[in-house]
């Protein structure tokens, strides 16, 4: 949780923060995650095993990638409402083509990522609000997905499905992937000097431009990276569900935003934490599980999930108020 230090360049006032509060704020989603796991294990000790972790976190892999994609866009001070629909489209492309025509599938991915980068460019060059453009794009993604695959179906390539059910040594695949994604994000976004420029493009684009960087180039690259991460989310999701479905992941859009904010990000741009986002995504995907372990009545489950999210977010906001 040392990315608070790496975030310092983006915020000049952070040195004044009390160190403990600061650590608490970054660690809050991690603490929430541990508390939820403790409750689940006390109800069902059998879950405290390799197999238990495997099942608990299996479906969080695509959410982790979708949340990281959302994080890239939020880093620029934008928001991406098309994220979930795009993941649904990727599952359709994957289930339809990746098995029989891998070249066509790869071409589709490249074109779709290029379109992602393209509307990043559009948002910047025409100074459009990202919330409108991406909302529009979400309907376009859904429309294309429904044209490609009118009813849920298709099948994931065997290698993809068996990769997602692969059980590597030491930790389940989901934890490995989450840890690797967090580490890669941490090194690129929070540690590297290029990461400082990327965050600066969201926090203070003018300064970055004055320093001789092309903000347009950065924005296009970041949107393309978001598209690539969303592609990974779609691929892993197809591997898990073994089929394509245009309407499989609309919830990822807002869960992704929730994960970024939970993990220490802010809508102002420039303030994001990859490690926090990954932990946030794991926390959110576990919140639903917790309720079914607690046997909350079905009519209350949807509301109760909202309450958990609210409590964790409120805790974070309170801590950051104190820290200021």
């Amino acid at each position: 949780m040392s990315d608070a230090a790496a975030r310092a360049p983006a915020r000049s006032s952070s040195k004044a923060r009390p160190a403990l509060l600061n650590a608490l704020q970054v660690g809050l989603p991690a603490i929430a995650l541990l508390v939820m796991l403790a409750i689940i294990f006390s109800i069902r000790p059998a879950a405290m095993s390799y197999f238990g972790f495997h099942l608990l976190f299996k479906l969080s892999v695509p959410l982790v990638f979708a949340a990281l994609a959302q994080m890239m866009v939020i880093m620029l001070g934008d928001i991406d409402l098309s994220n979930g629909a795009f993941v649904g489209l990727i599952t359709c492309v994957t289930a339809l083509y990746l098995q029989d025509a891998p070249a066509l599938a790869l071409l589709c991915y490249l074109v779709l990522i290029a379109v992602y980068a393209g509307f990043g460019l559009l948002i910047h060059s025409r100074q459009l609000p990202s919330i409108i453009v991406t909302l529009g794009m979400s309907f376009i993604w859904l429309g294309i997905a429904v044209i490609l695959l009118p009813a849920p179906g298709g099948s994931a390539p065997a290698w993809l499905a068996s990769f997602m059910s692969w059980q590597p040594p030491l930790m389940p695949l989901s934890i490995w992937l989450a840890a690797l994604a967090a580490l890669a994000g941490h090194l690129v976004i929070s540690r590297s000097s290029y990461g400082v420029v990327l965050r600066g493009a969201g926090g203070n684009p003018r300064a970055v431009e004055r320093a001789g960087w092309s903000v347009i180039g950065i924005r296009v690259a970041v949107y393309a990276a978001a598209g690539l991460l969303a592609c990974l989310a779609g691929l892993t999701l197809t591997g898990l569900t073994t089929s394509g479905d245009a309407n499989v992941a609309p919830a990822y859009t807002l869960l992704g935003v929730g994960a970024v904010i939970l993990g220490g990000g802010a809508f102002t741009g420039g303030v994001v934490s990859p490690v926090g986002t990954v932990v946030g995504a794991l926390t959110l995907s576990l919140a639903g599980s917790l309720l079914s372990f607690l046997q909350v009545p079905p009519t209350w489950q949807i509301g109760a999930q909202g309450v958990i999210l609210f409590l964790v977010l409120a805790g974070r906001v309170l801590l950051s108020e104190r820290a200021r």
């Binding site: 069902r44 197999f51 608990l56 030491l170 569900t241 073994t242 089929s243 499989v248 992941a249």
Partner: protein, 358 residues
Amino acid sequence: MSRTTALFVAAMLGCTSFATLDARADDGVAKGDTSAKKIAFSNSYAGNSFRQVMIKSFEEMGAKAVADKQVAATAVVSSNNSVTEQASQIENLILQGYDAIIVLAGSDTALNGAIKDACNAGITVVAFASGVTEPCAYVVDYNLDSYAKAELDFISSKLGDKPANILEIRGMAGDGFDKRLHEGVEKAMKAHASYKAVGEVYGQWTATVAQKEVSGILPSLPQVDAVLTQGGDGYGAAQAFKAANRPLPIIIMGNRQDELALWKQEHDASGYETFSLGATPSVSQVAFWVAQQILAGKQVPKFVEVPLLQINQPDLDAWLKTVPAGGVVNAEYPQELVAKIIDANAKKEPLPGVPAPK
């Protein structure tokens, strides 16, 4: 690490294989001991009245089964129409050690991965009222070909082989249920060469829409002898015939309270006779008992067709008393009835009907 997994799976498999050892293909209720078994219901959506009744039916039957020591516990989890959430809920149910999971799937395919995990962990999965494609799951569903056939069989029992004009009220254009039921009607019509389809309207399963649409097409039609419906549209169709001062044809009803009330009123006034059928929300109870029977060691075919609830003239009054105003007929599916349904499916015999209330 993989040894722990193997042990876990083996332990779960052990539970079910004990039950299957003394499996019998005998008729009737399998008596294997299931008093320690837990059955969960994974539901994709809880936000409308049909689903609420469905969950309540399951919970009531589950509570009764627990009290009778037929199962140890039941649980219901609902996802808010989010398929990924339903998938992760199924993974959780595996972890919580349920012996059987009944699933009302939000997607025909997207839960396949989770359902397969459950099967691999030795859990019995029964999907109902949805076309889950994972082959390891048992499927409990209606057959819409039977729906259409029952409608036409009743008409031919009244009209015989005389030439007759038939109006079909369909549901909604592009809807899957409507498409499958209409295909069933087309198949069933082939068996009755003397019947002629004279018209087709979309009633959207709603009395007011059906009344408007039927009123619109009536002036262009010759005498209509029978009306095929999809449920919810019978009352509106009757009103349209009355408003046009036409004699009331045989209108197949769809188990709605307004339809049954109208039928009774017409029967009392002029001896009018028809027939009513439809799906019931308590199909969740069928899935529950199918799961319990599999755990008890009964041999169950992979597809179990559920009989539609059919109401004939003698039972009309009894059924009408059980329906709240504006509601749909619901019924209880006790264990013995479900065992009979399973047997009829296994032997490919006609399905038993749902008995009328006393």
